[in-house]
Symmetry: D2
Subunit: 364 residues, 4 copies
């Protein structure tokens, strides 16, 4: 039943509930000597911090991370790095009512079925707050990837029916929706305002790419790079579909359209197109890794809903409290983090693939 | 780098290349006393066997499975079950040319990058033939699920632009495309015939559902049921997207549309709709589990393609040999198998979730 | 390289260095509804706490544990339980000298070889302090075992040449050496006093038994119960040998002496003797589980020692600071904890062994 | 319950019963390009083959290994290597009686308790024959270690009360007991002859060392090198104790005796003594790795024994069939194999420990 550890060599274990004392993560397998500071990690956490715009819950969390172990004189020691983020804003009273019934679209019912009871305060472990641990760990993975020349970047691709048509890297951090297209972001804000007026919420799509990934990552046949990415991204609450490269479009494509021709360029093998999203046969091919996560609308909406309570009675509820009208912008850094964690793990796993490289490593 | 083991408690290890002596799987963790026969497994393998229709490669493989261990007097002993399928049709000569270049859409290049060289005969380990091991194991998982009243069923949802509009269970085994809609199947065959005439291939979608799955399966936060299913299905070669329930559609939906209301029915909690595909917070909710796999068109097409060879020269190739114009119908049983394996594993994992049930089990 | 997670279903991840901010553990897979309080865990930690007798370092550590997650209203929720123990006594100045050389019998040299540098304060992660996390987790495992009628008990079997000849359960907690034989304890104290006068240290043996363990635990062939116990106990720093049952004596025994005859007693199968230590073929047989851990003398001694420094020069050193003259009494609860963790994990794993029990569990 | 997979990166999965069709192993994670031939593996298997001397069962097994996958043109491809050894001598009739009762010292009772029934033919999976899979895999591990300049060597240290006093490498393969001391071997043979005359059996000790192991292997705190070795060796049937270095003797030693002083020699750090057996803090220190396995006397003896049958009746039995009077000589290559597998795995794991080495590897 233990399911809170992720990764094989770059391995994280997250813990913590929405309204417990703290939330955190242990990151094991971080290569020694990697420079790490609390501010590096804080910068990642700030990207998912609530309360910064009118599209995220007004709950105020400092989300201030502490490094408790595994870093000495500013560098990783190779021993587990324990990160802790105190929970400071715990208005449990808001949630007392929830204990008695099952909110539609939430995990209240399934947690009760599995465990017999649950920490009902703010969703407990099933809260989006759980992802703070992933992001803190993702920050460390990201520091490691940078050392190897790899850059991972996620952003909002669409909000409800509004999709980006342009890509401007700088724009991502300029608008509250993390969209790389200022015009789309403006229209998406209008759309969200309309949703909120109707006490409703919206879904959307997060897209993520990784540049600089060497060819060779991924371990067929079950630990293929795309399989690992799909499992990692689908493990984020609210994600209901994962696409690699052209994704769902491949089912309508023909082979002549979908195959990416290889060509020599400057003495290197390259692909002329990248329908495959940088992965062939479950192994990275050296081109851009590309994936998309489809995220459902926030389950907590403020209109009347039908449900049942723990006594088995049909009831009508109206959810109160503090909730984002859209999860997508705060999920951007979570998708980026999970992608970074998968890539970091795959980079380490791949080092053992070839005898000649191992002999070279051990200077034999 | 070892990536050929899948599952935690119901655990399989597959092995074998397209043109080696045999292909096989070791299934570990099968509960003792489960009735198993070679014919049960053979029935599954026959569903992916090539050569039965004009839409699959004319390569003739008996795909006759042998049980080498772990079954005694017709029942599982609790020890590992080794299954072996001899390769009988190995026309390696067909593949000699492939050794020198990289076929677009195939794993030739990435295997060379990772391992330094490869078994180039028929794609070696990256061949679709690898899935025979998954299917043989999936047959055993399916036998186990049946004992618990669970039924898993996969079928072709679409071929290229042709989608099923109807669902007739019996029809699935009646047409060569495994579609549950006879009319769609007829139109899809016309579409495929056109593809073949143009030396081209088609993608498609496999859909899979599971009925009778109890609420409570899946282990948050990384081994959620949907995360496990996504990783498992994405590990199948040629799958480029995985959807759970409404899948990609959730990104355009509103919360009021996407939330499934709970209602009491005959004393049980049920959901009025199932946009979630039977999984909430990563845990099964007792309703139908539903997923879709988007499969790319066969990479081996018979028209001219641009690529490079191992000497780093740009060349034009024309692939010969025996290849399916569409992978989808043969992938149906593979998707069903991976789904069954995930569910079997989740059923076993879930047994340890609650103290009262454990005490009951150990009669304390 | 990640090696700080132990167990499959009852799974712990420990973290923390001797002189970092804190030390801790995440316990994942604890069955929901298990009653757990900080005082339960504190009682275990107090058993390894330094400073209570003249045979343990005068370093004063409150070792006060905090439960940060996974427990709600006094019971486990099934989500990961994070335990934190602040480090309060960190006289790092004591250790500044150690940074430059390699103490004999310590891990200074090997950590430098592996990681390139190390947290030299008090041994960092290789300090005995690391075991606090194991003991905190062991306390929870012990609570779980009690619910199933299993009792684990460890004690000092010998100190240097002084062995217990008697077994009095109550005596274990009465003398500072945790020996179940008051007379042996008195003689062992004399022996230790002599060691200390000579600036020397002593080894010893911890013995551990478990009563009430049902037959059937352990998963052949690599996760046998004895294999899991041996790996777990040998992972404790300073342990250099592990014995099960008669242990090393079996190598001099004959089959007619070593075989344990089965007999019926009160309608149950029992063994007349227990040379096997309760494990046959790697599976518990329902009789007492018995093991011994041989622990080396404290490496930190206060006489002159030959060694080398990081500049590759031969030097003579004299260690200062606070060190136990014998590790054994404080290791008692660590051995008990690792044994409890292995048994808890094996109990959970074993639930999936038989189809009939699984069907019963799922009420099919 | 699945327990037949061993290792993390160099990972094996064994399968097969004493009297099934075959026995085998899948070896996953073998670095590509490693030269491997069937004859290399056969040489290892021949060392444990029965029937060669009067101290091993007269059962004749060719134990002829076949490579079914993962090797192409004489080299590993990086994909799983499946090895199969047909069972050719299956006189099941010998074992029909065993089905009804529990042999003392055997796993008959515990397998029945765990699984509800068992393959009673020759012990099924609990037979020593299971180790053929380990040895076949160990042969491949050994080939890999040789490429890195590491040599693993095991031999019989003692038979019953007869211990080696001398060490002559060549002698190991000259006498049927695999003892490195010809005189001890002669006396041990006399001792065994006496045992056999009394229808009895003898235990003994296997010792194993590894030279050329670089410093740095092993992953604290749970996957320490000594913990991995102890778990691996204890998982071999009949092993009841494992010692590292001085082993049990450390419990009677003083710190001043047990600490190994470091000294510079030819510009390298060396230890003047090796009480630690080459492992400090769970990490290899560059000196010889040394371990001992204590093996119980063969449980199958030919004198009368008391036991119970499956009907719960006390009975007296007399075992017939073919059995070794001592397990030790045939266990030598099994201990060597498990040691090699642990070292191979640790070598691969260790490659990810340091950022500078990883950057070097990826040429960044």
């Amino acid at each position: 039943m233990a399911g809170n550890t992720f990764g094989k060599q770059f391995r994280i274990t997250t813990w913590g509930e929405s309204h417990g004392k703290a939330i955190g993560v242990v990151v094991d397998g971080v290569p020694a000597e990697l420079p790490i500071s609390e501010s590096d990690i804080q910068a990642f956490l700030d990207r998912r911090k609530p309360g910064s715009t009118r599209y995220s819950t007004p709950r105020k969390e400092a989300d201030a991370v502490q490094i408790l172990s595994g870093v000495f004189e500013g560098r990783a020691t190779g021993t587990p790095i324990s990160l802790l983020i105190p929970n400071t804003s715990q208005r449990s009273s808001d949630y007392s009512e929830i204990a008695s019934y099952y909110r539609p679209g939430h995990a209240d019912y399934t947690y009760d079925m599995k465990y017999g009871f649950r920490d009902y305060r703010g969703g407990g472990r099933s809260s989006g707050r759980e992802t703070a641990g992933r992001v803190a760990a993702g920050a460390i993975a990201s520091l490691f990837l940078k050392q190897l020349g790899i850059r991972v970047c996620a952003y909002t691709r669409s909000i409800g029916p509004i999709s980006c048509e342009d890509f401007c890297q700088e724009e991502i951090s300029r608008n509250p929706l993390c969209m790389p297209d200022a015009d789309a972001a403006a229209r998406a804000q209008d759309y969200l305002d309309a949703c909120m007026k109707q006490f409703d919420s919206s879904g959307g799509v997060v897209e993520c790419f990784a540049d600089g990934v060497p060819a060779g990552l991924g371990d067929p046949v079950f630990d293929k790079l795309d399989a690992a990415l799909a499992g990692a991204v689908m493990s984020i609450g609210a994600v209901k579909a994962v696409e690699i490269g052209d994704g769902t479009a491949v089912s309508r494509a023909r082979g002549s359209e979908n195959n990416d021709p290889f060509r020599m360029r400057d003495g290197h093998v390259e692909k002329e197109t990248n329908h495959a999203g940088g992965i062939l046969g479950g192994i990275s091919d050296g081109s851009r890794i590309l994936l998309r996560a489809h995220i459902k609308p926030t389950a907590s909406i403020f209109s009347d809903q039908q449900t049942v309570n723990r006594n088995g009675e049909n009831i009508t509820i109206r959810i109160k409290g503090r909730h984002d009208p859209v999860i997508v912008p705060r999920a951007v850094v979570v998708v980026e983090s999970m992608t970074s964690l998968v890539l970091a793990d795959a980079l380490l796993s791949n080092m053992t693939a070839r005898l000649d490289r191992i002999r070279e490593f051990y200077k034999v």
